[in-house]
Amino acid sequence: MTTKRIIACLDVKNGRVVKGVNFLNLKDKGDPVELASRYEDEGADEIVFLDIAATVEGRRTLLEVIKNTASVLSIPLTVGGGIRTIDDVSRILGNGADKVSINTAAVENKRIISEASEQFGAQAVVVAIDAKRVNNDFIVFTRSGTYNTGLNAISWAKEVEQLGAGEILLTSIDKDGTREGYDIELTEKVSKSVNIPVIASGGAGKMEHFYEVLKVADAALAAGIFHDGIIRIPDLKKYLLSKGVEVRI
């Protein structure tokens, strides 16, 4: 069977890795190229860069970062943040990313999903869904978690699959940065409703959290706990193996 994947996420702003809580209070965590290859050495299965500045200047810097990272990395690299057009997708893939992660633009212009999927293949198109509990329902938020789209996260997940997404990167806004654990209910509901891989994100604080969420998700993503050294990937993978979860070591 395909292993469960452990994905290290780097929030990149103007060429540096940063991390905040609930999308706020950003702190510098280092150089993206260095961190990405360190995570590969430690056994990360994939790297995700999220460009959280996404200004014109930041964008140019990001393409450089992608190129420098892709030169040294030999595991898959996904890049997201501020992707609005097919040209953005093309530039990012052309500089060495394997996949793009599209969030706000996917909601505001669904055609970008199908167009990107047709041009670059479904495997290159990850749709990021940021969901939040609102009145016992999971609602999709965009624009870095600030805008309530009114969309139900489960139906949106089904729709992006239909449109040609190859994977879903599912973040719980409520859990993000809290280290209280992934939102299992959200992840399970989305994962059961689609037939494409689902990456769980938001809330990882200890190894048990990975074990719990990987029962329902294909991959688990984390950022802060890896950057802060609270969990080391080799220890995490050994733990998961000991619990009977197939991971790559």
């Binding site: 292993t3 994947r5 030999s74 898959p76 060495g96 891989p197 294909d218």
Partner: protein
């Protein structure tokens, strides 16, 4: 050692270039063969029908180079188009260097198949698999080649070829450039195979 990555589609050609460079190849990306390369690389981007039709337009050139000793490496889709026929985007003819047909994975599994799976060596007359038996390699695909002629395989719903080879061509369904250390070992073995 010179390698030309054929640019027949949009997408990530940079990684395969970087991966080959790390193992000592001198790599350029081009729409056409250069004529003096040791290896032509068919990368894993695009859809079968479009790529196959482009490559068939170069087939005459490829045959010429092949007679002069040029080797070929196909990765993922680049391997698939080396087979006789594919069904992605309508039935179309491949290069026909390997017997068999490329079709969607017909099993009750999530597609695309994305992730790491173990590779197992069956029987390797090409000497490409030293150090990789039982190790994890990275896959991203929904289609596989249906053939009995392979030197290594993986399982995902179905058992499918992971590596195929003949006297002038090698194909991998996995992405060696994305398979971390195991991928590096494979590309090193491939370098030696070309040198021979």
């Amino acid at each position: 050692m010179k390698a030309t990555v054929i640019n027949y589609g949009v997408g990530n050609l940079f990684s395969i270039k970087a991966g080959l460079e790390r193992e000592g190849f001198n790599v350029i990306i081009s729409f056409f063969p250069q004529g003096d390369e040791d290896v032509i690389v068919l990368p894993g981007v695009g859809a079968f029908s479009a790529v196959a039709s482009y490559l068939n337009s170069l087939k005459g050139k490829f045959e010429e180079l092949r007679e002069r000793g040029t080797k070929f490496l196909g990765v993922c889709l680049g391997m698939q188009v080396m087979f006789e026929e594919g069904t992605e985007g309508g039935i179309s003819k491949g290069l026909g260097w390997f017997k068999g047909k490329v079709d969607r994975i017909n099993a009750n599994v999530k597609l695309p198949h994305i992730g790491w799976d173990k590779i197992y060596v069956k029987n390797d007359p090409c000497g490409l698999t030293e150090g990789i038996d039982g190790k994890y390699v990275y896959y991203v695909h929904s289609y596989v080649a249906y053939t009995d002629n392979y030197i290594a395989y993986s399982d995902y719903g179905v058992r499918y070829p992971a590596i195929v080879c003949n006297d002038f061509a090698v194909g991998t369904q996995f992405h060696p450039e994305k398979s971390s250390n195991t991928g590096k070992i494979f590309l090193r073995n491939f370098y030696q195979w070309v040198k021979r």
